[in-house]
Symmetry: C2
Subunit: 353 residues, 2 copies
């Protein structure tokens, strides 16, 4: 269930913050995979969309998007090249690169069409996943240009912001890495049109940034990770999972006091960072803890001073990582003031490649 | 990708083991959610299927199944009752119960049709999820009978078997809990037709059991959890995820030596028990470790004595928990001797309720 008022408030808050800071907003739509939400983000001023895969780009290009960035260091085969050509005929397409070999493969597969694809070099700002290290930007950019691709800028994802106490430092790392990568790209003789950063935990932090655009995703729906990182409040959480109490244990063995509800990992997703208090949260019972998750059971330890809910009672659960929950359903129920007003298809669900 | 020879060998091994021990096999099809695999299990001698939800039961009842057990303590509303009536008109339907209140709700919603539904009382054999404790079986059974339901037996899921060193003890707990529950049900004046146990880690353990049927699920495909629990070998793993190396770091900072592949939590699932070596395994590189999983990236630390794979190379990954991986795709590719021979729909994907 998505509360449309909360959703629209989240969209407007991020859009106005970016406007006020003179930054472009290119929301990552892997979070919601839903055309209706992308339309609202574009209407609020997003200048384009970010996706993770060619398959997601295809879904959103069939919608209203005219400028899509695939923020991933793609390895391009003949099949992928055909799909990129088709996409580039419809809208502006940017892709990520982080290796000389990846640039050569992409260029050779695209052949004469290579120039229709914009390339942003990915730099590692501390998350240590994909991305080149400082000093390597020029080499990859020159390989891309030699392969006929159109090098337009640099990007990074400061994913190490997903830890308590880390967002401010990660935002500084992002700023430094983007600044250095921009200098390297300019030194290699390229015009830098786009300097692109991430992430929901860092996007709303004030302060100087080298970025020209930001790509937050989760902000639009909120989740228990953002709540526990203090990057959103309970009032900012738009998506909840409706669950029913199916088993109830007032006291058992020691002082275990808990209910089992019928929402497990196949709807909540099972991301559970070590710092999280559990596998999600309950907005109506903030002291309850989801201590275990099977495929169709969540085990919820109940606070001692609060009455245990009855069998059959409906509870609202907030997933730890909302991007995984959205990817598990074919459609979402849209509510306004507690009433169902619409159902939206999760059009890009499962588009992993 | 599913290797059909491995799949068929797994199906036959479990079926013949159950035959030899005089036990009935009722495989849990939430693992694969696929009609073609269920047909093979039934053809090999399974006397019925186990599912987790009414939605899964509806999919398999439309296939070849004539006897389905929903191994879950259902809370029945009017909507659910209509669906159960429709199911019971097609095939034999059993459901779980673990509370007096659940029995009363189910009976009152089903009304005159309550007797068409078989009920098995769930007992907690040590997993401490749903299920009644010893001493409570009679009360729930009497409430079910008073509500007009047809009480046929008891069941348990020894889920605490999912930990190194635990399967043997969990199988003993299961045996004891089922024995005691059966005695309680008989003492309450019921005929006990079915005594139903779980799970893949315990099902192939030899020895006496109070059970008349077992409900393993994962055995059919295998996964990294079963491998690391030593409940299957590399040769028993039928399902792998094909991934491409998209980023490669020969050495960076200290001695990190790793590749990034384009298979993340949206295809592998993110279950990661504390005892697991990582987020999955690589059958062709058993010493490699999947140390991190984002939505579209797996970070694989590579053994020092093995050449780092090239960018663009395809790798096979084994998910930790195959039930989650199957639930993330609309179809699976079937291979035999390395060639694609078929594609099967994951017909019950996403059927959470």
């Amino acid at each position: 269930m998505i509360d449309i008022d909360v959703l629209e408030r989240n969209i407007e808050r991020m859009a106005s913050s970016m406007r006020n800071r003179g930054l472009k907003l290119r929301p990552h739509v892997k979070t919601h995979k839903t055309l209706e939400i992308a339309s609202k983000q574009l209407a609020a001023g997003a200048h384009g969309l970010t996706v993770a895969t060619i398959g997601e780009a295809e879904v959103f290009a069939a919608g209203e998007a005219s400028d899509i960035f695939i923020a991933y260091p793609l390895w391009i085969t003949a099949h992928h090249a055909d799909r990129l050509r088709t996409l580039a005929a419809k809208c502006t397409i940017g892709v990520g690169l982080d290796s000389v070999e990846g640039a050569a493969a992409m260029g050779s597969q695209l052949g004469a069409d290579a120039g229709s694809i914009n390339v942003l070099i990915e730099v590692d700002s501390g998350h240590h996943r994909s991305g080149v290290l400082p000093g390597e930007v020029g080499d990859v950019a020159r390989a891309a240009a030699a392969a006929g691709l159109n090098v337009t800028g640099v990007f990074t994802f400061p994913g190490h912001s997903y830890k308590p106490g880390m967002p401010v430092g990660a935002a500084q790392n992002e700023n430094e890495a983007l600044g250095q990568a921009t200098a390297e790209l300019e030194a290699a003789g390229f015009e830098v049109n786009e300097i692109s950063g991430g992430s929901t935990p860092t996007a709303l932090l004030a302060g100087e940034t080298a970025a020209t655009e930001l790509r937050p995703g989760v902000y639009v729906l909120g989740d228990a990770q953002q709540l526990e990182l203090e990057r959103c409040t309970w009032d900012d959480i738009a998506l909840t999972v409706a669950a029913t109490v199916t088993s109830r244990h007032e006291a058992r063995g020691g002082n275990l006091r808990r209910v089992i509800v019928d929402a497990g990992s196949k709807i909540m997703g099972s991301d559970r960072p070590a710092w999280a208090t559990g596998f999600g949260r309950l907005p109506d019972y903030p002291d309850a803890r989801i201590t275990a998750l099977s495929e169709h059971h969540a085990t919820i330890e109940w606070p001692q001073d609060t009455e245990l809910p009855a069998l059959g009672q409906r509870l609202r659960l907030v997933p730890n990582h909302v991007c995984l929950a959205m990817n598990l359903v074919d459609e979402v129920t849209i509510v306004k003031d507690g009433s169902v007003v619409d159902r939206w298809a999760v059009a890009a669900r499962g588009r992993n490649s």
